[in-house]
Amino acid sequence: MSRYAPIFWLVIFLTVPLWLKDQYFLHVLIITGIFIIAAMSLNLLLGFTGQLSLGHIAFFGIGAYASSLTSVGFDVELFGVVRVVHKPWPAVAGLIIGTALAGFCGFLIGKLSFKVRGAYFIIVTLSFAEVTRLVALNWVELTQGPMAINNVPPFTVGLPGLGYVALWNKAYYYYLVLFIAILAYILIARLVGSRIGRAMVALKENESLAVSIGIDVTRYLILGAVVSAALAGAAGSLYAHYVKIIDPDVFHFMYTVTMIIMVITGGKGTLAGPIVGGLIFGFLPVAVRSFASPEVQWMIYGVFMIIIVFVLPQGIVPAVTQWIESFRSRPPNDTGPALASLATSRKED
């Protein structure tokens, strides 16, 4: 069954616009999908290298702003000396530039903070997000500050026979997000399944041992940060061209927290975790909105999160996997022998 599970889910996700006619739910699904991409990128760092980025939204926001500015164009004077004028480019160029710039920022942050890592990385990412927010807020000439960048153009896709089609339609946009999400998933799966991924797991489990067997810890952490930041940037770009308006609020700390909650509840360090967590926390607001004000909503998330952490400390995906496995191995006899062997191994310790 597990071999067919990915195909099963793929079919479900691919056919959504065919059976889900409610445009509002489709909208929620698109936003959720964008945040799932961001959560997957965070999971690469948090779940596989063990480094917590408390400013992950910065990369998302950089992707969003870079992509918007690339496709809207700008006209700024740098230091009152150089005048830089940029004519609007197609949105796809924005996606590429947004992704690349976010990845580059991930490289800089990683280079700066992974010499020391741990708490320092958390502080650096946290302050980096705040700095980017202040830049977006105050560099009015470039970013329009609180007036926001309006009229961000949609993606256009060249289709054979139809010419260029702008993705105004929600169903089309859903497929675009799904496509990028699948790309991101495959990229992360390939990465963590390779020797690079094993090096990341090794350094998370025992850093000094990893160093002693010749793993260049800093290099792999930076690589993780670059890929993670670039994916977050791509998610930001998708977001910007979907909502069509970007203001400094995209850098809000709450978004980072949302991503972390998605990763932790779904199960950090698992590939499916951010998807499960993302779907839950993407649709929870819809479920509670009818009877709770925004402040109460946040309290409900908090309570929900605490319950999950207490009941399923590993997250939903690992818990379910374990449950299924124990269910499978049970039939002939109970888990007696397995427990016994565990007990003897304890004794030798």
Binding site: A202, V211, S212, I213, D349
Partner: protein, 234 residues
């Protein structure tokens, strides 16, 4: 083969090694004994590049590795089997072994070496797909040793190989280490079990609070009155 001159190491203001000189000749099994805090592990950490010495010099086959990073040291042929039989608990047995030859790229040779390890430790072969954290203490020790051998070292550093193992496993572990020496790999071993270490080694050094107190063959140290008094229980 390995030459250490006037090695000084410190953790912050605390001096761990106050000028230690020792040498390991090719093909020998050299033991480094001493009490807790004498600087045994520090010496190994300095050799393997996990700790930057304050001063002094470490040379290996003519290469100065005093300030070399761990990767460089490993690629020159020094592998390390750290204290407390450290393995990566969430990687499988096979993956743990693969991590041991992270710097090597020749798949064919790697597979050959891994088969050799599995031949030597059949228990590991049985459990190759199992997560290392589920192994017993003795099996984890075998895995840690196997992983160290996977880099095809010419010198293996063992840090307290007998620590926390059941008596029959301690004996088995020492047998394996002797076997490694007999197959031509040089061994430098740190050990608190002074009697066993001195009985099996070719040459031994005694460290006391960061300085070298005594050196000689295992036999010489076993007969030394001071060693008998302080480390062998009179």
């Amino acid at each position: 083969m390995l030459e250490i001159r006037d090695l000084v190491c410190s953790y912050g203001k605390v001096m761990a090694l106050k000028g230690v000189s020792l040498s390991v000749a090719k093909g020998q099994l050299v033991a480094l004994i001493g009490a807790n805090g004498a600087g045994k592990t520090t010496t190994l950490r300095a050799i393997s590049g996990l700790l930057k010495p304050r001063s002094g010099q470490i040379t290996f086959n003519g290469h100065d590795i005093t300030q070399a990073p761990a990767r460089k040291v490993l690629s020159l042929g020094i592998a390390c089997c750290p204290e407390g039989r450290r393995v990566f608990p969430h990687l499988t047995v096979k993956e743990n072994l693969e991590m041991g030859c992270y710097l090597r790229t020749n798949r064919v040779e790697i597979t050959k070496d891994m088969d050799k390890i599995f031949e030597q430790f059949p228990r590991l072969a049985e459990r190759r797909a199992q997560e290392a954290g589920t192994l017993s203490g003795g099996e984890q020790q075998m895995l840690a040793i196997g992983r160290a051998l996977m880099s095809r070292p010419t010198l293996v550093l063992f840090d307290e190989p007998s620590l926390g193992l059941a008596p029959n496993l301690v004996e088995r572990t020492f047998e394996i280490i002797k076997n490694i020496r007999d197959l031509g790999t040089t061994v430098l071993m740190v050990e608190q079990n002074a009697l066993a270490a001195l009985e099996m080694c070719d040459h031994a050094y005694l460290l006391e609070s960061g300085s070298l107190a005594l050196e000689g063959s295992g036999r010489q140290l076993l007969d030394d009155p001071h060693v008998r008094e302080a480390y062998l229980g009179g």
